[in-house]
């Protein structure tokens, strides 16, 4: 497997974000709930790391809030991503492999869940829950985000179902779950990994939107909560840029780096999407001026029928609700 420069760039950013979220709180070393100064003190008013980004509306260190908030967002994203991917994976695998009536029922259910705007469910669920810690929030996001994974996985599983090795496994006496786990799942694992990365990224964005609406976790700081405070306490009006620019940049960085990793993984798994140095220029038959680009074939192109392209199409469809279907 050869990784592109894009992948290394994206992976570096992801690692950077992870370091900020999981090591940062120990380095900054200041309680995000402790007041260290007054309302919107400028960066550098006091000494030390906690003053790098000034204070917020409650006189708390923005730097400290940022690193703790990043940690919260990453945790919510990971937990929600795992929940959504697991549900989607199980439903997609069963539907795609079993086929027939079971597939109709499961996909019908998936489409119903898909048709309901998930943000509405998320808002209703978070309002009705007695307490909102990061786990309930992640659960709420996870159980509304799985349908896209289910659909993508089902499409892949359907193409694996027709392979002869499934029939060989059946005739060897393998049971339904054994075939699902050992003969179907390994063939789609790369897509599951990509779908998981996408789920994490979109869960982080969902968490931030909820928090900005004031529906975030009640006992802990998150990036969305920081933005909520910044908006509510007029940081934009008074020009306290350090209160809203850092969380915005951090949020963008998280989502951007995850999407970058996902799309560069897509290139690794699907050679047809590969760009750049591997292309040869061959003069076309029609004339000297026209050139055709030819990709060097690699891997087993026949083994999986361009599922990565299909997956990104499905996901794109999810993002801008309707549109491209390849």
């Amino acid at each position: 497997m050869r990784f592109s420069g894009r992948f290394y760039f994206g992976a570096t950013l992801v690692i950077l974000v992870l370091l900020v979220g999981f090591i940062g709180p120990f380095i900054v070393g200041v309680d995000p709930n402790a007041s260290i100064g007054g309302l919107y003190d400028k960066p550098g008013t006091g000494p030390g790391m906690q003053w790098w980004l000034g204070t917020d509306n409650e006189g708390q260190s923005v730097m400290s809030n940022l690193v703790y908030g990043t940690r919260t967002s990453l945790l919510v994203g990971l937990i929600a991503g795992i929940i959504a991917s697991s549900i989607g994976l199980v439903i997609g695998l069963i539907a795609g492999y079993a086929g027939g009536m079971l597939e109709e029922i499961l996909m019908g259910l998936t489409n119903i869940v898909l048709a309901i705007p998930s943000i509405v469910i998320v808002i209703l669920l978070s309002v009705s829950l007695p307490r909102r810690d990061i786990f309930t929030l992640a659960l709420v996001i996870g159980i509304t985000a799985w349908p896209w994974t289910a659909r993508a996985v089902r499409a892949q599983a359907t193409s694996v179902r027709t392979r002869e090795h499934i029939e060989v496994a059946k005739m060897s006496g393998a049971k339904f779950w054994s075939i699902l786990a050992w003969d179907v799942l390994p063939y789609l694992l790369s897509y599951v990994v990509m779908a998981f990365v996408l789920q994490v990224a979109s869960a982080i964005l969902t968490e931030s939107s909820l928090s900005m609406l004031g529906l975030g976790p009640s006992n802990i700081v998150s990036i969305g909560m920081m933005l909520n405070w910044a908006l509510a306490w007029g940081s934009i009006r008074v020009g306290a840029w350090w209160a809203f620019i850092p969380p915005t940049v951090m949020l963008t960085l998280i989502a951007f780096s995850l999407y970058l990793v996902q799309s560069s993984l897509d290139e690794v798994f699907n050679p047809r999407l590969r760009r750049g140095k591997k292309r040869k220029l061959v003069p076309a038959a029609s004339g000297g001026a026209a050139t055709a680009e030819i990709d060097e074939p690699e891997g087993e192109p026949g083994a999986s029928v361009g599922p990565a392209a299909l997956m990104s199409a499905t996901v794109a469809e999810g993002k801008d609700s309707g549109g491209t279907t390849q």
Binding site: E164, H165, E167, V168, A174, D183
Partner: protein, 262 residues
């Protein structure tokens, strides 16, 4: 000799109404114990569907199937486990028939679970690999990508043989192999019949190949079984125009070399 498998007007239709595809439109035949039967026909004639019906991998939409005196038209999970101890298959494509993540040992190990006695299962595995000319220690640790197409196909045959099946079904098992290996595999099937008394059913589009190994021949055209009889009858005295066409399409060697052969 008694018939091992009896198919009575077996049918398979895919889809409903206008879109219905009649893949097998009622096939009636018997497989004699210890003989080789070939099913011939061009692509899309329903041979592979027939094979999957016989194997119990597809539910039939009509007719009955009887194996060794018991009705096997519809099988529950437990019944099909038992059925597959007696009936095994080798498929066309030695590449897609392998789970690329499994070693040979893992692949064969799965089949071993159908055999109750563990010690006997291991013995049978070594024996089956011996039948197809492998030394167990050479291949067990290998992944499919480390084996050639012919080697893979022989492993698949070994897998089927481990069960000591009464009926072995070879669905185009030789069509993706080169000419020398093809004869090799056909001879393995022949030896099985001669030495172990296995009943063999071969699915092929190559009537010449069918003639080489089979005693009985079934000819299929577009889902219909148009002709059946002993290989000699079918090849030298074909009744149906489709059979005549199939025979005429067999490529012949021309010139001096052709005269030497024919």
């Amino acid at each position: 000799m008694a018939a091992l498998l009896k198919a009575n007007n077996i049918q398979k239709t895919f889809g409903h109404g206008k879109n219905a595809v009649h893949a097998v439109k009622g096939a009636t035949f018997e497989l004699e114990e210890g003989t080789i039967t070939a099913v011939v026909g061009e692509s899309g004639s329903g041979k592979s569907t027939l094979a999957r019906l016989v194997l119990g991998l597809l539910p039939s939409t009509g007719g009955t199937l009887e194996f060794d005196g018991r009705d096997v038209t519809k099988l529950s999970f437990m019944e099909s486990q038992r059925y597959w101890r007696d009936v095994q298959a080798v498929f066309q494509d030695p590449f897609s028939a392998f789970n690329q993540f499994f070693t040979v040992q893992r692949l064969l190990g799965r089949s071993m679970k159908l055999i109750e006695d563990k010690k006997e299962a291991t013995e049978r595995m070594h024996e089956a690999l011996g039948h197809v000319g492998f030394e167990a220690s050479d291949v067990l640790k290998k992944h499919p990508h480390e084996l050639s197409g012919g080697q893979r196909q022989r492993i698949m045959i070994a897998r089927a043989l481990m069960m000591r099946p009464k009926l072995l079904l070879a669905d185009e098992a030789t069509s993706m192999l080169d000419a020398s290996l093809r004869v090799n595999v056909l001879n393995v099937l022949r030896d099985l019949r001669d030495n172990l008394g296995t009943t063999v059913m071969i699915i092929t589009h190559d009537i010449g190949q069918a003639c080489y190994v089979a005693e009985q021949m079934l000819v299929m055209e577009k889902g219909d079984m148009v002709e059946q009889g002993s290989s000699k009858e079918v090849v030298f005295n074909p009744q149906h125009t489709y059979t005549k066409q199939l025979l005429a399409d067999v490529p012949k060697l021309h010139g001096e070399l052709g005269e030497m052969v024919h």
